[in-house]
Every structure is written in structure tokens, then in C-alpha cells.
């Protein structure tokens, strides 16, 4: 299968897509931007390379054409191998994607079972970046664990014991399987976090919806001193922060990607 790659200025993406998407019915693959440069990949027989370059216009920095696998799964795995490490240190990948360079934290998430947490969503990425900035140690609770990726990375960074809670059985199966695959021991428990109190872990990551945060904040144990909050859009940061501040925490950092937000709160 033909593959045309166009490297453009990241800041020009919307304008380039305005010209490109109408002439590429199958769509355009977007690879993560590096240093303000973004690669767009077009697979298949649609417009000639010259037409694609013309659509990119003055935003085009470079282009190339090559053969790619006809198998979309092979193309998917190859693309995953080109993602920059999260926070410069963590690679989350499915089995079959290229292994990262030595020295990076390599997390293989193979079993999702439909559970959230393949490592690509902004909320997951924001949480992982935030974990890299914390001093590891003591018990860690991953609330709304999905595939267990946050607990697994926490274990690799030095937290323990690790607790993971989700209301979906598929998430618990996924967390168990992924923890074993990555050589980390995680105690995965089923629970409705919209009603139950959070475990009294010193460090908590809660990648959950707004209403779940309201319950967690209301029942937060005094032993919990660091709470990493995500799963919310930026419009909800204020409400979530207020809820945790009422529990004695203070906001120390927030980050937003594509309207998804994460906030770090510590006990005052």
C-alpha cells in the first residue's frame, strides 16, 4: 500500500486539514508532534503526492512516499513505535509494537478488554507525566483503574503496595493480566467509587468522572496526602479543586491537553 507522509508546522494543522480532508475520504493519520513539527500520513490510492503537497501549501516542511503494509494492524503497531516517550521516560505500548530504547520505562498493556487505559488518552498521559514529578514511596491507589496502567507505572517508579479499584469486572481482569505481564503486584478490587470511600493510601490517582471525584473528596482519609486528579474536562477543574480543598488539600498544579485536565493536590 502506498504511504505519503507530510510534515507540517503543528500550528497550521487546522488550516491544512481544511484543505486536505475534503480530498482524502479515508482520512489522515496524525502522528504526535515533536518540536512543533507534525507528520500527517495518508495511506492508499487517493490523491497523487503532488495534490497532497499542494493541499499542505506553505505549511509543508517535507514530504516522502514509501510502501507500507497492507495490514492496518501492522501499520498501527509501527506508528505506536514512533510515539515519543511520555514525559521523556515512559513508553506504553501493546505487545508487538517495537520495544523502546534501553533506559526507558517500558509498559506493555496488551489486555484492555474494553477497559480504559491504552496509554494514549490525554488524561492517562497527563497522569503519567504528573507521576514522574512526584517523590515515589508508600501505598498508591489507582482509582478508576481501567487497564491498571497508572498503578503499574507507579509500581515501576517505586510506590507500593499498589491498590487498583474499578467498578467494571473487565477492568479488574485487565489490570490483573497487565500487572503480571509487567512484573508488578497490584491488588485489583471491584467497587463503586461513586459511593465507597477511597482507600487511605498516601498517594491517590483518580482518573474518574466529576461525580466520582465529589464522592472521593467528601470521604477522603486524612492519611491521603497527595491526590492526582484527572478524567475531567478543563471546565470542571474549579469544581473538583473546591471539593478536594474542602477535604484539606491545596492545588499545586494543573495541566490541560485537548480540553482534558489533570490537577495535583497535596494536603495543606
Amino acid at each position: 500500500m502506498r504511504h505519503v507522509a507530510l510534515t507540517i508546522r503543528e500550528a497550521d494543522l487546522d488550516e491544512v486539514l481544511d484543505r486536505l480532508l475534503p480530498i482524502v475520504p479515508q482520512g489522515v493519520h496524525l502522528h504526535p508532534a515533536v518540536d512543533g513539527r507534525l507528520e500527517l500520513a495518508v495511506y492508499g490510492d487517493a490523491p497523487a503526492r503532488a495534490g497532497l503537497e499542494a493541499a499542505a501549501g506553505e505549511s509543508l516542511l517535507s514530504s516522502g512516499e514509501a510502501e507500507a503494509s497492507d495490514d492496518p494492524d501492522e501499520r498501527r503497531l509501527a506508528a505506536i513505535g514512533r510515539r515519543p516517550p511520555i514525559g521523556g521516560r515512559i513508553v506504553v505500548r501493546p505487545e508487538g509494537a517495537p520495544a523502546p530504547a534501553p533506559g526507558l520505562i517500558d509498559i506493555v498493556i496488551n489486555d484492555t478488554g474494553g477497559a480504559f487505559g491504552a496509554g494514549t488518552h490525554p488524561t492517562t498521559v497527563l497522569c503519567l507525566e504528573a507521576l514522574l514529578g512526584l517523590e515515589p514511596g508508600g501505598a498508591f491507589a489507582d482509582l478508576g483503574c481501567g487497564t491498571g496502567v497508572l498503578a503499574i507505572v507507579a509500581g515501576k517508579l517505586g510506590w507500593g503496595p499498589l491498590i487498583a479499584i474499578d467498578h467494571e469486572p473487565a477492568a479488574l481482569h485487565a489490570t490483573d493480566a497487565n500487572a503480571r505481564r509487567n512484573g508488578v503486584e497490584v491488588d485489583a478490587l471491584q467497587g463503586d467509587l461513586a459511593e465507597l470511600p477511597p482507600p487511605p493510601a498516601p498517594t491517590i490517582a483518580a482518573n474518574v468522572p466529576l461525580k466520582v471525584h465529589e464522592n472521593l473528596a467528601a470521604q477522603l482519609a486524612p492519611e491521603s496526602r497527595v491526590v492526582l486528579v484527572s478524567g475531567i474536562v478543563d471546565d470542571h477543574v474549579g469544581a473538583v479543586t473546591e471539593a478536594y480543598e474542602a477535604a484539606g488539600l491545596r492545588l499545586v498544579d494543573t495541566a490541560v491537553v485537548r480540553n482534558w485536565a489533570a490537577a495535583l493536590l497535596v494536603r495543606a
Binding site: 475534503p22 479515508q26 482520512g27 489522515v28 493519520h29 492496518p72 498501527r76 484492555t112 474494553g114 488518552h121
Partner: protein
């Protein structure tokens, strides 16, 4: 000035994407369907000079991107009652999953309001996602 609710223009702009457009009282209906590979961003619906609706299936979510066109201002919100359990395959979820959006447009020749429905399903964890899009966009009347 041509109307932003021009059916012929919508049919021409969406022809390469299988889009159908038809007139409504004070408005227009658009529909299209498309298979999109994981990670690809593709045009699903377009109303020239007003909005393009893009979809992008991702491992951990579904991006639906209303892109305002031609200087139009856009406001939109997700209907929270819609089913949005993206990531589930046909074996794990009632299908098709559905998201719904409310749209508002201003700053162009006339204010418009719209409803958008995107249905989607996939039979394989990372296989292509089958999308169906349907939008109704109408003039805004202060007395309604």
C-alpha cells in the same frame, strides 16, 4: 449572498464522501457513513462555509471534531445522555453506540442551530470503526 443552507453546495462538497443533503423547512439535513481506521481523522459531514464534522477513532476514545468554516463562530456541547462507551467492541456493548451534540453557529450571514448524531461500531479492538453521521441544521428564529 448565497444561503449557508444550500443543498446543492452541500451535495457537491460531500460527494466524494458519500454525503447526502436534503432541504428542510428553514434548514438542511445531512447524512453520511464511513469506515475509518484507528488513528485517522476523516471528514464525516460538511456544510460548506458553516461546519465540517470530523471523526477520529482512538484506542482510548472517540474524537468528534466540529470545525467551523468560513469565519463562522461555533458553540457545541455533548448530550450527556448519549451512549459513549467507546473502546467496546460489538461483543462487549450494545451496538451501535451513539453520541449526540447540540451545535450553534453565529457570525455568518445568519444564526443557525443544529443537532448532530454520530453512531459508531467496531467488531475488532483496533479494526476500522463504522460511522454513521446525521445532522439537522436550521435557521434560528427569535420567536421559536
Amino acid at each position: 449572498m448565497s444561503s449557508p443552507l444550500d443543498v446543492a453546495a452541500a451535495n457537491a462538497a460531500g460527494a466524494g464522501h458519500g454525503q447526502l443533503a436534503s432541504p428542510l423547512p428553514d434548514g438542511i439535513a445531512l447524512s453520511a457513513h464511513k469506515l475509518v481506521e484507528e488513528g485517522a481523522r476523516a471528514q464525516l459531514l460538511i456544510l460548506p462555509g458553516v461546519v465540517r464534522i470530523d471523526v477520529r477513532p482512538l484506542p482510548d476514545g472517540l474524537q468528534v471534531v466540529p470545525r467551523p468554516l468560513g469565519g463562522t463562530e461555533l458553540g457545541w456541547e455533548v448530550d450527556p445522555t448519549a451512549v459513549t462507551d467507546y473502546g467496546k467492541t460489538a461483543l462487549e456493548s450494545e451496538m451501535p453506540a451513539v453520541t449526540r451534540f447540540r451545535l450553534a453557529f453565529w457570525g455568518g450571514s445568519e444564526p443557525l442551530a443544529g443537532r448532530l448524531l454520530v453512531g459508531y461500531t467496531t467488531d475488532d479492538r483496533h479494526g476500522p470503526t463504522h460511522f454513521v453521521g446525521h445532522a439537522v441544521i436550521q435557521q434560528v428564529h427569535a420567536d421559536r
